[in-house]
Structures are given as structure tokens and as C-alpha cells.
């Protein structure tokens, strides 16, 4: 079904392009070539872009499954990226293994802190996390913009970007531009799958999302606490994605580090029906879409932003097909 949605969306794109006087076949061919045309395209474009999408998709899936509607992965990603950059420019003397761990930890902690705000607002004041996480995205973007023109700006103060992080903090490369972060994403997916499927705590998180009332009364699960914790964990995972992007791809902080990865990740998680294993596949799929869109823009002159329309169509089709099964209702409505 999800695949059908994707094929349908691509067909729709083809029809739309043909109707507006573009060469639809050339565009779609350019798209496939951009994503799968060569080993470089696949490993250094598709999988490279898939890495943040998988990790952020896992962050979103974790929150949604536990009944926390976290749509602030973008902001948490940026929080992680800021902290990772801050840590990365300060670890010149450290041995590589330790430097990398330190940078990734900084990202996790910052992402968790960013996720703690909506968690606290929700628990203490009953503010819907949908609204607070959404607003915090804009705050995070402004903070990045301030950081790269203020406290973290490069030494010469000419460009809106940070100093490069220390070489010892770079993630090792696997092949081409693909870095160790991709493996970390796979491992994380495995860990989360095992956590949800095999542990008591994982069951409690799932139950908090699937049936908060039943979980509270029959299962004696502290639902409010689990939902808040889910926001923290989700934030930490998203922050990790930001740190990995900095230490594996950009090596510095930029204003447009994420082309909306945090929002695409919602599509990634939904398409995977919030199953961590499937998130890997749908993350690669969306990585291919984005790499393909870049190829399409380069070779066929079709604006790459069109990929967002495809994503939107996929979300809606999957949503309608799955109705309310895809996303558990959020526990007791505050206010």
C-alpha cells in the first residue's frame, strides 16, 4: 500500500509535469538516475541523505508510538547540531574515538533539552505538545541564525557559518561520502525495534500511545510520565541526527543545514507505520526521492522542491488508507 502511494504520487508528478509543458519522461529518468544511476549516486547521495531521515524518522516514530505528537524534530535536530558544533570546535587535542563520542553526546543532550521544554509544558501546564514543538522549531532556527552570526561565527567573521570542527571529531567515512552515521542509524533502528518488541518498558511506552485509559487503569502504567519521557527520548534521537550531520557531512554549522529533514521525517515515520525496521526502508526511499529530485533539477530543470508535494501525497494516502490506526490518539486531552 505505501509503495502504491509512492508510485501514484510519482505518476501524478509525471502528469503534472507533462501538463505544464515539461518533458515528463526526461524528468523521471533524471530522477531515477540521480538516486540509483551509479554507485556514487546510491551511496554518496541516496544513502547519505537517508541517514538523517532514518534517525529523525526513528525519533518521530518513537514519540508517535508513545502518544506524543512531536512535530519538532527539526528544532531538536538544530539544537543537536549547535551543541555538536560547539563541542567539535573545542576538541582538537582529543583522540578521534573520544572526540566523536563527545560530539555525539553533546548533540543528544542538547536535543533532549530541547525536547524537555514541550515535555515540561505538557506535564506542568497541559500545553499541547503539537503546538509547543511546532513553535520551538522556529525558535531553534533563529538560534542557529544567531549562533552563526554571533557566538559561534567563524574566526574571520566574514560568512554566516561556524569554524570547522576538529578533524578528530569527523565521523569515519565508509565509502565515498557515506559516513559511519549510516551504520549508527541501522543499529539504532535495531535497538528501538528490540526495545519496543521485547522489553517491559517498551511495552509501557507502546501502551501509553495505543490506549492511554486502559494503560492507566488496567496496566497501572504512569501514562503522563511515559509520554513526557517519550518526548525526551525523541528529542535526544533527533539531536543525535543533528550531531551526526555536523560531524559526518557538513563539518560546520550552517543556517540551512537541514532542508526540512524534520518535517520529511514525519512522512518517513508514517510511511513505515511507526515500525523502526520499516523506518530504515522508508528513510532510504525518501533519501532516494530527495537525491533524485536534486538530479531532476540538475538534468531536467524541474525545481527540486516538488519532492515535498510527493511526500505530502504519500502521507495523505497512507493516512487515509490506514485511517486512525497509523497514529494512536494522544492521551487524555488537556484543557
Amino acid at each position: 500500500m505505501p509503495l502504491l502511494a509512492l508510485v501514484g504520487a510519482l505518476l501524478l508528478l509525471g502528469v503534472g509535469l507533462a501538463a505544464t509543458g515539461n518533458d515528463a519522461t526526461a524528468a523521471l529518468v533524471a530522477m531515477v538516475r540521480g538516486a540509483f544511476g551509479s554507485p556514487y549516486a546510491f551511496f554518496s547521495q541516496t544513502l547519505l541523505r537517508a541517514t538523517p531521515l532514518i534517525i529523525l524518522g526513528l525519533a518521530v516514530a518513537f514519540a508517535f508510538r508513545s502518544g506524543a505528537l512531536n512535530i519538532g524534530a527539526e528544532g531538536q535536530f538544530y539544537a543537536g547540531a549547535i551543541a555538536a558544533t560547539w563541542a567539535g570546535v573545542r576538541c582538537a587535542g582529543l583522540p578521534p574515538m573520544i572526540a566523536v563520542c563527545w560530539v555525539l553526546c553533546a548533540g543528544c543532550v542538547a536535543g533532549m533539552a530541547w525536547g524537555a521544554v514541550p515535555a515540561w509544558l505538557r506535564v506542568r501546564f497541559g500545553v499541547l505538545e503539537v503546538i509547543s514543538t511546532l513553535l520551538l522549531n522556529f525558535v531553534a532556527e533563529s538560534v542557529v541564525s544567531w549562533m552563526v552570526t554571533g557566538p559561534l561565527q567563524e574566526a574571520r567573521r566574514a560568512y554566516p557559518q561556524s569554524d570547522p570542527i576538529a578533524i578528530s571529531a569527523h565521523l569515519p567515512l565508509l565509502t565515498g561520502r557515506l559516513h559511519l552515521g549510516f551504520l549508527l542509524a541501522l543499529i539504532l533502528a535495531g535497538v528501538l525495534w528490540a526495545f519496543f518488541g521485547w522489553t517491559r518498558l517498551g511495552f509501557e511506552f507502546r501502551a501509553a500511545g495505543a490506549g492511554p485509559k486502559a494503560a492507566e487503569t488496567i496496566g497501572r502504567i504512569p501514562v503522563r510520565r511515559r509520554v513526557a519521557q517519550a518526548l525526551l527520548v525523541s528529542g535526544a534521537i533527533a539531536g543525535l541526527a543533528g550531531a551526526i550531520e555536523v560531524s559526518g557531512v557538513s563539518y560546520a554549522l550552517f543556517q540551512s543545514l537541514s532542508p526540512g529533514y524534520g518535517f520529511t521525517a514525519i512522512a518517513v515515520a508514517l510511511l513505515a507505520r511507526l515500525d523502526p525496521r520499516a523506518v530504515v526502508l522508508s528513510g532510504i526511499l525518501f533519501g532516494a526521492l530527495e537525491a533524485g529530485a536534486a538530479g531532476m533539477q540538475r538534468d531536467a530543470g524541474v525545481p527540486s522542491v516538488i519532492v515535498y508535494v510527493i511526500e505530502a501525497v504519500v502521507i495523505i494516502v497512507v493516512l487515509v488508507a490506514g485511517r486512525r490506526r497509523a497514529v494512536p490518539k494522544s492521551p487524555e486531552d488537556p484543557g
Binding site: T20, R124, V130, I131, L136, F138, A312, I315, I316
Partner: protein, 283 residues
Amino acid sequence: MDLLLVTGFLAATLRIASPLLLAATGELIAERAGVLNLGIEGAMLAGALASALAGTMWGPEAGVIVAVLAGMMMTSIVALIAVRARADQVITGTAVTLGAVGLTGAIYRMTLGSGNSEQTLETLRYPWTLTLLACAAVPLCHFTFYRTRWGLALRATGEDREAAEANGVAVERMQSVALLIAGAFAGLGGAVLVLGQVGSFAEKMTAGRGFVAIAIVVLGRWRPFGVLGAALAFGALQALQYLLQGMGFDLPYQLFLVLPYGVTLLALAGVVGRARAPAGLGK
């Protein structure tokens, strides 16, 4: 204090507040009918692009009308998916906004932004007419909500759809109509930005104003005049930037970009406990 600074501050407040007030009024109507419409950002964006396109071709007045239609088109998708098919409102709205970002970006790059468009966009001769319209919509909205049968039915739908249905309200139609009105207002908000203020379209130019409008509705405690006050407060907060700069304070401009969001979060924490959302919101 300098008189010029003060009038400048008040003018900036009104200017910043008008697109927010329009969008928030529309969002208020949708939320009172029980629909949390996150597609509002997409509807504003669509309105902004439509007003720029139609404005270049047929003049600014036509731009306003087409913007309204474009906004309604976006929320009609929300109506179809979230109301008719009963899919999750939050995710539907997010998807519509995402799609609108892609669609407007692509259309803009193929038309106005392609570099070989030589036509220029005229702005409205009397841009404050739309501000007036925004202000006039507030008492009208209040009257409709609390003094008409239709308004009662709308509010009933938002509070308890089963009860409303049992009393003969066509719930789905009511929510769909509310969403269409919300889209019209959001489209107008986008048109104000382009035709009344900036004078051109840019990708993602609404920059989260639709989401701010959602916060304004909460801050205004789901009441028309409350929304008016909250929108003005928001405008004033951002206009503070010009006032403080005029007075010689040197602060990073990002602080003023963040301020409204930060204050909203604080205010939400303070307000939510006391104000009551429509009981059926989001269900």
C-alpha cells in the same frame, strides 16, 4: 519620546498584526467547529503566491480574489481528508502545509522566479482596506458565533459532535464550511503580505505566520475579541524591534524573531489552565 518613533511603532504594529489577525480569525472559526487546522500555513502560502501571480497578470484587486480561492483550495483538502475521511487532523494539516511549500516553490521557480519574467507586480493602492476588513471581521465573527443559530450550531459541533448531530446539525458539512472560510481568511492573510506589504513573493515567505495564528487563537482563548487583542499584542511585540533600534539599543535581530514564539509559549503555559478549548477540538 519622539512622536515619530511612536507613530512608527503603532503603524508597524498594525502592519505586522493584519495578516496574523486575518489568519487567526479564520483559524478560530475552524477550531470552534472542532478542527485543528495545521494546513493554515499552507493556505497562507498558497494565497501569497496566488495573489502575486494573479496580481501580475490582472492587477492587485484580482490578486486578492484569487488568493482567497487558493486558500480555500488548500483547506478543502483538509476538509476532504480530515473531515470526510476522518483521518488525523494534525498530520493531514502538516501534510497539506508541506505540499503547499513544495507546490508554491515549484510554481514560483517556473514562473515569477524563473528570471525571465519582466512584468512587475503592482501593490494595492489602499493596502489598509484589508487591515480594516480584518478588524471588521472580528465583531462580525462575534455576532455570528453568539447571536445566530448557525453560530450556535458551529460551536455545538466543536464542543460535542455527537450531541450536535443528534440535534440535527450536519456535522461534516459544518466543519467543511468552517474550513473553507478558514482557508479564505488565510488566503487573504497571504495576499496582505504580498500585495499590501512586501510587494513580491518569496519561497516560504509566510515563515510560520500560520502557526503563530494558531497560537494567537489559543492566546485569545477561542474568542473573536480575544483573538484581536492577541494579534495586536503580537504585532506590538515584533514592532518593538524598530522602536528599540530607533532608541539606540543594539540587540541581535534574531531576538525579536524569537520573542513572539517565546512569549507565546509562556502565555500558553499561563493561559491554558484558565481558558477552555472547544471540547471536541482535534477529534
